[in-house]
Symmetry: C2
Subunit: 359 residues, 2 copies
């Protein structure tokens, strides 16, 4: 029996509420498919921890995570006490960078039983993958303020893209597209407005595309691309984007499928040199936190993605466990119970228990 060591980081807000539901589902598949999970429960990487220690994580956080095969992550952020850029750069964004999780993989899929905010879309119409660059680009803390406090005050913010970082995310996305039926990929850009980095990004995309003659590709500016997510979401298969554009598209895509309460994500280090991190796309949602009403599906689905990744994304008990969780999620989405975001009245716990029971 294979046993995986999982670092469990609930974080803040609804992260704390949805995490137990993911663990509940993992406990069931652990029994059913004979996979061992050895949990390491972590209370740092939260704003509570920050309030006590004036930092988001202990100095030896890397040391503490040494044995982890993966990180299961809730959500971080509590802007009422800690500014977002401090809490996020001190935790989530640090993991992404220091563990070189350069792929952020985010599916957008419309399920039966989930009312889409889009008219005339039914289950199966929307089913695509967003591949987001996850370690560089627009997310940078390089820059600063000049002439502060004067009328001439100016702030400079660098976006930094490397050939290394750009090529690897493009290749990952083209590889993924090549393995899918439609073999189609859309590259997000904004080379008409952002005059230095984005034409350069386009050139990298063209170079990589040339190595995949069997994959149909096009590039679309982020403004019209967002519009097309709403107007023609059925047209997309794989979408690859920079850090910022991927962030935007991976909230918008799931919104088009009904609720961001469903969307999971994997922050992957494909070489498995460092632990990968799995988390819902939604954040800590302070506005609904503490009420036990958040939708736990995104968290549970993230746990399923994690198990499949741990198994090497190939056939085996891990793949079976993933598929079983997905089937249980699909069934509960179809028949209920539903949380408030889907028009239901069920609590986080009720939906989580329903999924585990169907397992």
């Amino acid at each position: 029996k294979k046993t995986y060591r999982i670092a469990v980081i609930p974080g803040d807000g609804i992260g704390v509420e949805v995490m137990p539901e993911a663990l509940r589902a993992l406990d069931v598949v652990s029994q059913r498919f004979d996979i061992g999970f050895d949990y390491q429960h972590i209370e740092w990487a939260s704003c509570d921890y920050y309030m006590k220690h004036r930092q988001m994580m202990p100095d030896d956080w890397k040391e503490q995570l040494k044995g982890a095969d993966a990180i299961l992550f809730g959500a971080v952020g509590w802007p009422a006490t800690v500014p977002d850029h401090i809490s996020l750069w001190g935790s989530l964004l640090k993991f992404r960078r220091e563990f070189d999780q350069y792929i952020n993989l985010r599916p957008a899929r419309l399920f039966e039983g989930v009312p889409s905010p889009l008219a005339n879309r039914k289950a199966g119409d929307i089913d695509f993958m967003i591949v987001r660059e996850n370690t560089e680009g627009e997310y940078s803390s390089v820059g600063g303020v000049m002439y502060e406090g004067t009328e001439r005050e100016v702030v400079m913010q660098q976006s930094i893209f490397s050939r290394h970082g750009t090529e690897r995310v493009l290749k990952y996305a083209f590889d993924l597209a090549q393995r899918r039926a439609a073999k189609k990929i859309t590259v997000a850009t904004k080379s008409n407005g952002i005059a230095i980095s984005m034409p350069w990004w386009d050139a990298r995309a063209a170079e990589v595309a040339a190595q995949y003659p069997d994959v149909a590709w096009d590039k679309q500016h982020i403004d019209i691309l967002c519009a097309r997510f709403v107007m023609n979401p059925d047209r997309f298969d794989v979408v690859v984007a920079s850090n910022l554009f991927g962030d935007i598209l991976s909230d918008l895509g799931p919104a088009c499928t009904g609720t961001i309460g469903l969307a999971p994500s994997g922050n992957l280090n494909p070489e498995r040199k460092f632990p990968s991190l799995f988390e819902p796309v939604h954040g800590s949602a302070p506005d609904i936190a503490g009420k036990n009403i958040a939708n736990p599906v995104a968290m549970i689905w993230s746990a399923a993605m994690m198990v499949d990744f741990l198994g090497g994304n190939v056939a085996g008990p891990e793949r079976d466990a993933h598929d079983a969780i997905l089937a249980a999620i699909e069934d509960v989405l179809k028949k209920g119970p539903h949380t408030g975001d889907l028009g239901g009245k069920a609590s986080t716990t009720e939906v989580g228990m329903a999924i585990s029971e169907r397992l």
Copy 2:
């Protein structure tokens, strides 16, 4: 009788096809409301011009536009022959900057007769204004490539925000919100990820907001904000955003109202020191160009915005002309004819003529 000098720049692609329909409408209101328009037809600021002269505009373009009260602009871009960043930075983006058109004002409104891609939304449910910063921020040509052609190649792109530029767009937006019934404003940000410029932007927003105690404001990260445009578009009144975020939101907002073929925009120099520029939000659309099928409404509505602006945005023949054009547009949207983007079969010319006839 007041006569305005209008520089008419059709540009490329469908810009050339929709422009005559705007002029047709202006001719009618000129008669009906006794307003004079003196047109200066300009063939530069197009990719055709570029192919002949290796630059988008003549050296003395500013000189040539000296007497213009406003610029009516179609669309620029023909990527098959001229890369977008060259054609746009050589024309539209130059106007915005050199004429200090620091406000880009873009309404999003759902009309009767226009099917929204969103479920259960009817005319009146969506009606908000996007105020986009238009001269700085993420649209910058500052930066460059290092270690080119090596594995270490890296590209740096600066975003540059000034206190001057940020405060004035925020103030304009808060002023606008204050004049509207709902008195509500949403500030787009991404201060959790973009660590230098966006927290700074948030601080400017908080400072300006403090001067408008009667305006309710909140700030939302661009990812979740895009999601909410789809999920709850009825919640917005005025949205203010940086150059890039405003660009994204002002394609997405109109997409939620059915088609970006309707959305107009004003690139305003509110002090009227330089001519302001009015253009549809849609681009040159090479994929449908040359077929006389583009929707001319965005262009015609842009012309109406121009007339109102020329009249000082106060009661008078210009305001009446604006209102008459809008009423004609509403009527045609309700009763047809419609172009293909709205499910109809009418040509650009037919829709343009229908609007002018209702005038």
